[in-house]
């Protein structure tokens, strides 16, 4: 069988001699990024594009190195820029529900916070001290004495007036009363009775008048007291201003270049003077209830500065990756404290989110994470669209609870967001989220493969060296590197490509290093790499082994020798948890007289997917056009995947089904030592399929278990030859002539290989040679057409008139 592929076509080796080093220890670090030119171009564009909306979505499968590459790429432009400003939240003394946001040059946020804290601490001693001075005490007591003097004077005046008429002002248990006196003694009622009526009346009248005057005096007292209090208040204010003015003025000078801060300090000063008693009462023992509520402590909280974002020790703008992008972790949170059963908050409990911390710089997020967190995606978009950061608690957003809450002043947002995610999410977002395209205008699409050339192989070696050094692995020698390159080529599914899946490479490096260390080797050799690859496979091949065992025992019927008509070995691939393996399947076909339909049993029982059904339907097209262009296609065929109890999808078995059908029609037996893969079109051309390596190996393993006869092999689409990176033992068997891979471009070619009978070329009339497969099929179809016609006429005759 000279059409079989040569062993070197089955596996594209990487020649270690081409690699110009002994071990990776000699290689310099890889500074450039290989194989991601498109993504790099997009990222550079996105990073340098200052306009809003030019946020980036980096698309590619997980583990391809998006994060590493982007971080590496952002490092330099981030360092080049000046650090953004510090942000603080401070009390809004006019409306505490709406705290003010202050921006300060980097590092000065902390200074302000400490300065204000020190100011308040200082005032807590300076203000009571100002009220302890002799001067204040004397002035306060003077005011008190003044008030008393005023009262005494008016009472004394009244008393003097009374005495002129021998009447005295007498203190009584509850107040005062006037009584006529005689020699300093109150006139007794008996004496009074003895007085002439006229005099009695005069005395009563005078007493009544004096009482009226006394009443007027008493009524004046609260007003005097009020005046006295006002004066005391003014004095207190004066003392407070003198105590607080100097330290606050010094701060205002210090922050004179920041008008916002100066305004805040002025408001603070006003508030301190207005609440001077808070500072004076410091020493007073707290009532236990007051201590419980923390009321006393909170009164000074309003002077705190909540340093939300600090950039003191930073150079450049931040590059931040938020690993857990919940709503609150993104836009910040409003914390609450429980106090006597109520939830309270204030501006000191505003906490920064990732957007605050990355403001002015770059924020990296995982698409999947941000999309699965409730409200996070909407909040992110809202922030990017409005270019402002509002801190709002999620409960409030949902109106779930209505505790005391805040509406902090929004902070302007200037940020570039880079979202990392897989392609599906990107395309779904483009399709279903109208805002997405506006906000994420740059797509950085990561390649999964790169061209395999001597240069790129050398770069790959350098990449291995760099990763090895970074992770402190044993150096790899060139044989090991060559083996890794080959494996990378295989996992890319193309002999002309290398995989850019960095996590896969890193895993293989670590595992090879493990085996080398176990063997106490100084360098990692190809052997260790192979051990790692085998171990990887071994760890995941339990199901594969169980299925092989079922075939070996005859539970699943697969023939690997002999020849049977209407029966072909098809190949399928099972992918479980990232591990794929091939397994042979028996495909059978049966034909009988009918109306030209090909019945796919998988489809009838709804075990076949749409692509599979499509492949089967193509078969009837092929049959009709090829053999019965001018005859009614009078065959009814049934196709089945024997012993398949699950879903079948894909059209890679359609060529096998067609071979089974042709064999059934022609009666020519098919060699069971061969297996088939490849899809077919209506013209009879065999088309490429996926996972060709796994499929071939699936059949090879079954044959190997039973003993290789030298006849066995697999028919593959010729287009898949470039994907061949077969396992070493298989290549070995092929070299020894024990196993064969046949590239096939047409059905005719394939059926000839399977039956050992030429397919046959049609002559000018479209007739095939009688002894060819095509000829036999054509003859059978003709017979069937005639039969059907005969039946049709027979039944017409019988029809009653």
């Amino acid at each position: 069988m000279d059409q079989a592929l040569k062993p070197e076509q089955l596996y594209r080796r990487c020649d270690p001699e081409q690699l110009r080093f002994d071990t990776t220890a000699e290689l310099p670090d890889l500074t450039e990024i290989i194989g991601q030119e498109r993504a790099l171009e997009a990222l550079r564009f996105g990073i340098n594009m200052a306009n809003s909306g030019y946020n980036i979505y980096a698309l590619g499968p997980p583990g391809i190195g998006k994060h590493t590459l982007i971080t590496q790429l952002l490092a330099e432009p981030a360092q080049r820029k000046h650090p953004p400003c510090d942000w603080c939240y401070v009390n809004n003394f006019d409306d505490p529900r709406r705290p003010h946001a202050l921006s300060l040059p980097p590092g000065r946020g902390r200074t302000l916070r400490d300065d204000v804290a020190r100011l308040i601490e200082d005032l807590k001693t300076a203000i009571p001290a100002a009220f302890e001075t002799d001067e204040y005490r004397a002035r306060a007591q003077e005011l008190d004495e003044e008030f008393k003097e005023r009262q005494e004077k008016s009472i004394n005046e009244l008393q003097n007036q009374a005495r002129e008429h021998n009447i005295d002002l007498i203190r009584t248990p509850a107040g005062f009363a006037f009584a006529p006196t005689h020699d300093g003694e109150v006139v007794s009622p008996e004496e009074f009775e003895r007085l002439p009526k006229k005099e009695q009346e005069a005395i009563s009248e005078r007493v009544a008048k004096l009482q009226e005057k006394l009443r007027a005096v008493i009524r004046q007292v609260p007003q005097w007291r009020q005046e006295s209090r006002e004066k005391l208040r003014a004095l207190n204010r004066e003392v407070a201003i003198s105590a607080a003015e100097h330290p606050i003025h010094a701060l205002r000078e210090k922050y004179a270049d920041l008008p916002q801060v100066v305004a805040y300090l002025e408001a603070t000063q006003e508030d301190i003077i207005g609440n001077i008693d808070d500072f004076r009462q410091r020493e007073e023992p707290q009532s236990p209830l007051l201590a419980l509520t923390g009321e006393h402590a909170t009164s000074f909280r309003r002077y705190e500065v909540n340093l939300l974002v600090e950039r003191a020790d930073e150079t450049g703008v931040p590059v931040l990756y938020e690993d857990n992008p919940t709503y609150q972790n993104l836009v910040g949170r409003l914390e609450h404290v429980a106090m006597m059963g109520a939830l309270l908050t204030d501006f000191t409990l505003i906490k920064a989110g990732a957007l605050h911390r990355a403001n002015g710089g770059y924020l990296l997020l995982d698409a999947h994470k941000v999309l699965t967190q409730p409200f996070a995606w909407e909040a992110l978009k809202r922030a990017l669209r409005s270019r402002e950061l509002h801190v709002e608690s999620a409960e409030r957003l949902l109106s779930l609870v209505s505790t005391v809450s805040l509406e902090p002043e929004p902070i302007p947002l200037d940020i570039k967001v880079v979202i990392l995610g897989d392609r599906v999410l990107y395309y779904l977002l483009c399709e279903y989220d109208p805002e997405f395209a506006e906000l994420f205008k740059v797509a950085a699409d990561f390649e999964e493969t790169l061209e395999r050339t001597p240069e790129s192989q050398q770069h790959y070696a350098q990449l291995i060296a760099t990763m090895g050094r970074k992770n402190q692995l044993t150096p790899f020698n060139r044989h090991a590197v060559a083996r890794i390159i080959e494996q990378s080529s295989r996992s890319s599914g193309d002999i002309t490509k290398l995989s850019t899946h960095l996590r896969g490479i890193a895993d293989l490096l670590h595992e090879s290093d493990y085996f080398a260390r176990n063997a106490k080797a100084k360098v990692v050799d190809a052997l260790h790499v192979q051990q790692a690859i085998d171990a990887q496979e071994r760890r995941s091949d339990r199901i594969k082994e169980r299925m092989r065992e079922a075939i070996q025992r005859g539970t699943v019927l697969i023939s690997t020798d002999g020849a049977v008509a209407g029966q072909v070995n098809g190949l399928s691939v099972i992918e479980l948890g990232g591990y794929a393996f091939g397994i042979p399947h028996r495909i059978t076909a049966r034909v009988r007289l009918g109306e030209g339909e090909v019945i796919d049993i998988e489809r009838e029982v709804e075990l076949g997917g749409p692509v599979h059904s499509k492949g089967v339907l193509i078969l009837s097209g092929y049959l009709g056009a090829h053999y019965a262009a001018d005859l009614p296609l009078s065959v009814s065929a049934t196709l089945v995947f024997e012993q398949s109890y699950g879903q079948v999808e894909g059209d890679s078995a359609s060529s096998a089904e067609l071979y089974a059908l042709l064999s059934a029609l022609s009666g020519a037996p098919v060699k069971q030592s061969l297996a088939v893969t490849g899809s077919v079109n209506q013209q009879g051309e065999v088309q490429a399929i996926g996972s060709v390596n796994e499929k071939i190996e699936g059949f090879f393993d079954v044959c190997k278990l039973r003993g290789l006869s030298g006849e066995q092999g697999v028919l593959i689409p010729a287009a898949n030859v470039q994907n061949l990176m077969l396992r070493r033992d298989l290549v070995e068997a092929a070299t020894q002539g024990l196993f064969h891979i046949y590239p096939v471009t047409t059905i005719d070619q394939g059926i000839a290989l399977l039956t050992g009978i030429p397919a046959g070329e049609p002559d000018a009339d479209g007739e095939y040679p009688e002894d060819s497969i095509n000829g036999q099929v054509q003859a059978r179809l003709k017979v069937m057409a005639q039969l059907r016609q005969a039946y049709a006429e027979h039944s017409k005759d019988k029809e009653p008139l």
Binding site: R137, Q141, E149, I155, T172, A179, V186, S188, A208, L214
Partner: protein, 280 residues
């Protein structure tokens, strides 16, 4: 009343309890002093005959100080009120005496307040009574207090509504005369009693005189543990004492009544914002 060491011996203290509710505070302070000086406490409550007479007059009305409302007065009510106050005072003196473990008693008499008090004061070493009129009325020296201050033969302690505040200074004047030594020793005893400082005002025309008098005072107050401040002044007047008392937080001023006339005394007592002990 001087013993041979120039120290005032106080064995019996008379405290005047009147109808005003704040006189209980006076009583308590008096009890503390009595306990501190190891003296007997005699209380006296005078049912003011003038009040009873007043209540009997047909036209009189009581004008309440706090609300300026007019209250009806009659003899029975006044008698009832006075009796109640007396009982209250008795109860207070019994309870405070047992608390402080001192010998206390209360005498209730009916008559003219000043006369009854002066009569009772004849047999005691110190009389204690409230200084002011009604606390809120602004009258800084009551008429009874003034008359007792002028007429009593024994030392008089006039207490403000704050009593003898704890840890506040005791102020006295020292001119170097022998009789001032008595004031100085009494002031230092009371300063220890209230755990306050001692403020000694030294009137002196020259610096030399001041230094001499200060040294003299210092020698007299040999015993330590007392915080003493000296204040020099050329010619002290009532206003000076007032300002000093305010600035230095003086709780008690000890005055020696020399040749001051009644009017001067009234003025001094009125302007001093603290309790006053008058010695003779």
């Amino acid at each position: 009343m001087n013993d041979r060491n120039g120290v005032l011996a106080i064995r019996r203290i008379l405290v005047a309890v009147d109808a005003a509710p704040d006189s209980v505070a006076v009583l308590e302070t008096a009890a503390v002093i009595a306990a501190g000086l190891n003296a007997e406490l005699r209380g006296i409550f005078v049912e003011d005959i003038n009040l009873l007479r007043l209540a009997g007059l047909p036209f009189t009305r009581e004008l309440a100080w706090s609300s300026a409302t007019e209250l009806h007065l009659d003899y029975q009510r006044m008698e009832r009120v006075l009796r109640g106050r007396g009982a209250h005072a008795r109860q207070a003196i019994v309870s405070v005496s047992s608390q402080l473990k001192l010998h206390g008693s209360l005498q209730v008499v009916r008559g003219h307040v000043v006369q009854e008090l002066l009569q009772a004061a004849a047999n005691v070493d110190l009389i204690i009574l409230g200084k002011g009129g009604r606390a809120a009325s602004g009258i800084r020296i009551g008429s009874v207090a003034l008359r007792i201050a002028q007429e009593a033969a024994c030392p008089v302690l006039l207490l403000t509504e704050r009593g003898l505040p704890h840890q506040q200074a005791v102020m006295t004047t020292f001119t170097g005369q022998t009789r001032d030594e008595l004031s100085l020793s009494m002031a230092s005893r009371l300063a220890r009693l209230v755990h306050g400082g001692l403020l000694v005002v030294i009137p002196a025309a020259t610096q030399d005189e001041y230094v001499r008098r200060q040294q003299q005072a210092h020698d007299l107050l040999r015993e330590g543990s007392l915080s003493i401040t000296y204040q020099s002044v050329k010619t002290p007047d009532a206003r000076f004492y007032q300002r000093l008392a305010m600035a230095e937080r003086v709780g008690l001023a000890v005055l020696d009544l020399k040749e001051e006339n009644d009017e001067e005394l009234q003025n001094r007592l009125a302007v001093l914002p603290c309790s006053v002990l008058l010695l003779r």
